[in-house]
């Protein structure tokens, strides 16, 4: 697969990407309005982002801590010397 083919594939992909990304759109109102009213009352956090990732979507954060500890142990396994 020489360079021309790679270039063609990249060009085609960039055409698709640009056509679909360069579109003027506004974010929707619904989920944001809910957080605006209920956010502080339900979770007690003034900072909505913290309320979101620690209360409403805490499951993502649990997943993310697992990714972090997985990476730390993985680096330890891969880089550690044989005992």
């Amino acid at each position: 697969m020489n360079r021309v083919f790679k270039g063609a594939v990249l060009l085609l992909f960039s055409f698709l990407l640009l056509a679909s990304v360069l579109v003027e759109k506004e974010p929707k109102e619904y989920p944001k309005s809910y957080f605006l009213e209920q956010g502080t009352r339900e979770t007690g956090a003034v900072n909505l982002v913290t309320a979101l990732y620690l209360a409403y979507r805490a499951y993502d954060t649990l997943g993310e801590t697992i990714v972090l500890i997985g990476a730390v142990t993985g680096v330890l396994v891969l880089v550690g010397r044989e005992k």
Binding site: L16, A19, V23, K25, P27, Y30, A55, G70, G74
Partner: protein, 619 residues
């Protein structure tokens, strides 16, 4: 059974992994292995509790943390998810038992093994696109590290390539999540489904080309997960599964690639992407043949098996792609049967490598007399993959072929692939047939104690692969136990074929991905109720597959037997050709065909563009 507990499927393995970490911190506490076993039994218990509900078509949905539906993260246990979880745990036990007896794994190995199980359970239960992204990442990290765990140089290189390809795929998946979030404003599957039913119009397009954004978004989504299930750049799989530690390649080939395909299955059924099914049909049958052709030219036993995983996944794609009831049930059934016999094959061949220290067919053969029980286990696995009647492979393959009758070209491609499979497994069976030979020297005399695990110091290891320390004699009992379990599953899966079809037809068509069933959601209010479009089709299919018809279709059906015999004969013919002198030259030439890593990345983009084109046609 209330739907609050479905979250335990992911929490139990993750808690088990926390316990194994305790052993890493305090080495005196030997808790890693018991924790791994305990998490197996607890999860299977939970699975059983939900069993009869799921069979009745119930769907359990729960939002984590009790928040309203569109706000928190949803979890759903439906028919497909239940089958996937059952598959995860049925393969997890033999892999665990094998790793106990193989030894040389410390508590960190079990940490990652439990992380893998927890990640897969999370993927299957996810009902939120971003949550799916997180759990895909967890399974990914566990898989990368486990592949390179024994730090052999080929495994490290394979693990690195898999990491880069899979991370590129997941980043594209994140791009797809963004595009969908932009158009629908939410991340849950339900809103995606309502958006898909309204014709997927991108909100208020400005530029003339805005219609491209939807097919592109779906293409990035599917291609992102597709990398994991050997969709288009399937070239990473032979190295990754071939050079991973033996229990890991069994677990990867058996389950991990299927779980990501189940997500693709859910998304395609959810968003009604019939064009994507066409793409799967054509690509699946092409991959099936390519996989077998590459497998025929391999000499390294595990890489040969890994290429067969690629081709068997091709069957599953083609079955799902065809879309007829028979083929869909066949595809789901083949996922289960492939997991059983591929895991058995990887473990049995892995034991041969452990016992003799040799990986290449040129160097080792004729072990039948010294390891008769291992030969029997291998034979069961090989016969199942060839689709020989009494075993599980026969049932699912004949279902797929039956479902593909009216697609002529994919049918013949898959038939050629079956012939190739028969040929390459007769070649692989040389391990146990012919004159006994280990590391190039014939070992006629060496009386090896039965079933014990004695590693012969490999004399000339070409690629410095197996540089383990010298002889370790240790009984291999729990390894054999694990493999015998898999063998029993292979045989039972075949003999109880008709009941299997009943179970899978109710699950595949009735309680399918999008709670298409009457959504008897136990516990919280009905969340995702939607009429079952193919209710009539499901019940009609169930009547057609009633016990009597099922039996006649499977066991008294002359045509199927004829087809199997023809495949076997043709396969033997191809085998004769490969073993002949001319065949060897073809093998040598084919082995020089290598695809560099950069081209694999380009292949991913090519796959994505192809998928986008297919999706655009429907749009």
């Amino acid at each position: 059974m209330t739907s609050d507990a479905i979250l335990l499927f992911t929490v139990i393995p993750l808690f088990g992994s926390f316990v194994t970490l305790v052993e890493k911190a305090v080495p005196s506490l030997k808790v890693a292995k018991p924790a791994a076993l305990a998490s197996f039994f607890l999860s299977v218990l939970l699975l059983g509790l939900y069993g009869e509900g799921i069979y009745g078509g119930a769907v359990y949905s729960k939002v984590v943390g009790g928040w309203p539906r569109g706000i928190g993260i949803g979890q759903e246990l439906d028919g497909i998810a239940w089958v996937a979880l059952a598959l995860v745990y049925l393969i997890y036990l033999p892999v665990l038992l094998y790793s106990f007896s193989e030894g040389g794994y410390d508590s960190r190995f079990y940490f990652f093994l439990l992380l893998l199980q927890g990640g897969m359970a999370g993927i299957v239960l996810a009902y939120d696109v971003f949550n799916l992204f997180v759990f895909l990442e967890i399974t990914g990290i566990a898989a990368y590290v486990l592949i390179g765990y024994q730090k052999k140089d080929r495994a490290l290189f394979a693990g690195f390539k898999y990491l880069m390809l899979s991370s590129l795929g997941i980043t594209l998946f994140l791009l797809g999540v963004f595009l969908l979030y932009r158009d629908t404003g939410s991340l849950t599957y339900t809103d995606l489904r309502t958006w898909a039913l309204e014709g997927m119009a991108p909100a208020k397009p400005v530029t003339a080309l805005a219609w491209i954004s939807t097919p592109f978004a779906l293409a990035t989504l599917l291609a992102g997960i597709g990398v994991r299930t050997a969709f288009l750049p399937y070239t990473w799989l032979p190295d990754a599964h071939g050079f991973a530690p033996h229990p890991i390649s069994a677990s990867l080939s058996g389950v991990v690639i299927k779980i990501s395909f189940m997500v693709v299955w859910k998304l395609i059924v959810l968003l009604e992407l019939s064009e994507a099914r066409q793409f799967l049909l054509w690509m699946g049958s092409a991959i099936a043949l390519i996989g077998v052709l590459r497998a025929l030219t391999q000499t390294d036993v595990k890489v040969l098996l890994a290429w067969h995983s690629v081709s068997q996944m091709g069957y599953i794609f083609a079955g799902f792609g065809a879309g007829t009831e028979m083929a869909t049930v066949g595809s789901l059934y083949h996922m289960v049967s492939h997991a059983f016999f591929k895991a058995l094959l990887f473990l049995s061949v892995g034991t041969v490598i452990l016992f003799t220290g040799e990986r290449s067919l040129v160097k080792v053969s004729g072990l039948g007399r010294s390891f008769p029980y291992l030969a029997v286990l291998f034979a069961i696995g090989a016969l199942s993959i060839m689709g020989v009647p009494p075993f599980v492979g026969y049932v699912s393959k004949s279902l797929i072929f039956e479902g593909l009758k009216n697609h002529s070209i994919p049918y013949w491609l898959l038939f050629a692939a079956s012939v190739g499979t028969v040929a390459s497994f007769t070649k692989l069976s040389l391990l146990f047939r012919g004159s006994p030979m280990v590391a190039g020297k014939s070992t006629e005399d060496s009386a090896r104690p039965r079933g014990s695990f004695q590693r012969v110091e490999p004399t000339d290891t070409p690629s410095g692969l197996d540089t383990r320390p010298a002889l370790q004699t240790r009984p291999f009992k729990s390894g054999y136990l694990g493999m015998s379990l898999l063998a029993v599953f292979c045989v039972l899966g075949g003999l109880l074929g008709t009941y299997g079809i009943q179970l899978f037809s109710t699950i595949a068509l009735h309680g399918s991905a999008v709670s298409m069933g009457p959504a008897i959601s136990v516990g919280t209010a009905t969340l995702y109720g939607s009429a079952l479009p193919n209710e009539a089709a499901a019940s009609a299919f169930q009547e057609s597959m009633q016990l009597t018809h099922g039996v006649t279709f499977l066991w008294l059906n002359g045509k199927e037997y004829l087809k199997t015999i023809v495949t076997l004969l043709l396969g033997y013919g191809v085998y004769r050709f490969i073993v002949s002198k001319k065949g060897k030259e073809v093998q040598a030439w084919a082995n020089r065909l290598r695809i560099s890593f950069d081209n694999q990345l380009v292949l991913l983009l090519v796959g994505l563009i192809l998928l986008a084109v297919f999706l655009a046609i429907q749009y």
